[in-house]
């Protein structure tokens, strides 16, 4: 299984039936593929729609895309709205979960994902509102970038919000930020504790019971 598939499959398990979920651009978008259709999960795209339903294959319309600008289809019962309403849903606490990519997460559970000063300034887009407002924030990211750990003691880049994220899922581990620090919950498929520790700069709390992901 590829790294990204591991991450997407594991995160899909976190999504409750009937919940409202926002998927970030890129890796998070893959999560939708692994959610059971019968769970009636509502996927929001912050550019103004609830009810995203896969690719429209031959039915593309220039007025219906996701936040990345890709053509989408919608499921029966979808709703479209303007940007103020879309972020009212997000900021107002109506969004059950957001799944976002990350550059780094630190020991306090703070996420950095919108700027590398002096180098890359994509801007925060909807990320700051999503992290501040969603009931649950899950970070989907590879465990390392070019060999560098992304779970760090303290952020090298400006943080996205001062709210602690709720879960971090990489191909190597599931980690839950807590008041006491980063709690290692699960290991990736075929992964050992030593491997995770060697690829992580942040201090991890290691529980007695440490299962592998069941995906």
């Amino acid at each position: 299984m590829k790294d990204k598939e591991i991450i997407a499959r594991r995160i899909a398990q976190e999504i409750a039936p009937g919940s409202l979920v926002n998927l970030g651009i890129g890796l998070p978008t893959m999560v939708a593929q692994y959610v059971d259709k019968n769970d009636h999960v509502f996927f929001q795209s912050e550019n103004g729609v609830i009810g995203i339903g896969g690719f429209p294959e031959g039915m593309e319309n220039p007025s219906l895309t996701d936040a990345g600008g890709s053509f989408i289809g919608v499921l029966p019962g979808a709703a479209a709205f303007d940007s103020a309403f879309s972020f009212g849903l997000i900021r107002g606490g109506h969004l059950d979960m957001t799944i976002l990519g990350g550059l780094q997460v630190d020991e306090q559970g703070h996420l950095a994902n919108w700027i590398i000063p002096g180098k890359m300034v994509p801007g925060m887009g909807g990320a700051m509102d999503l992290v501040a407002g969603a009931k649950r924030v899950i970070v989907a990211m590879t465990h390392t970038a070019k060999g560098n750990a992304k779970l760090v003691k303290s952020l090298a880049f400006p943080m996205t919000a001062d709210r602690r994220v709720d879960l971090i899922v990489t191909e190597k581990a599931v980690i839950q930020p807590t008041e006491e620090g980063l709690l290692l919950k699960e290991l990736g498929p075929g992964c050992t504790l030593d491997e995770v520790l060697s690829l992580t700069d942040a201090t991890l709390i290691i529980p007695d019971d440490l299962p592998h992901m069941d995906i």
Partner: protein, 219 residues
Amino acid sequence: MKHPLSVTEAIALIPDGSTIMIGGFMGVGSPLSLIKELVRQGKKSLCVIANDTAQEGAAIGLLIDAHSVNKVIVSHIGTNPETQRQMIAKELEVELSPQGTLAERVRAGGYGLGGILTPTGVNTLAAEGTQLVEVDGESFLLERPLKADFALIKAQQSDYYGNLKYRLTAQNFNPLMAMAAEHVIVEVEEMLPVGCIAPDDVHTPGVLVDMIVKSEAKA
């Protein structure tokens, strides 16, 4: 009654140096004919308020490519390396605002509010230049309204009063900007006789719209 103007006539009314809101999200729901005409008429020193600058060679990206813009107020520029290049070269001033905050600031401008308090961005770089306000022990940023000289927006349908209907995710910032500018120019796909859009289907009442042009661009 408002009969459509030509794209050339409408854009000729915009002076260099104007502050312009432009609807759309990554080009979706952007008034492409109006944008192309801004470039063709060689407008300069514009301040553009929009969600993003799309990509190089596309939608608002065309204005960046043509160096028509001095300043942008946007939520992200990650999809347009040319915007980033001009920013780093100090050819272009970029003010970044979180997307939900940007939407509320535009709305506040159009709705006559003096500002809004948002939890978004507290203790981040987005808090720079804004005032921190405590309400009942919670911290919020006081974010200021945005207004513009012109709003260039895109709708699917208009009647001859200017009543507008948007389509799906092409709606985004368009209805908000229609409230927030001194002059509102809308680019539409289809013109309908007055009375053909039911009252409950009107997204933007015609009283807000100053000029209508028919889209010449492939969407």
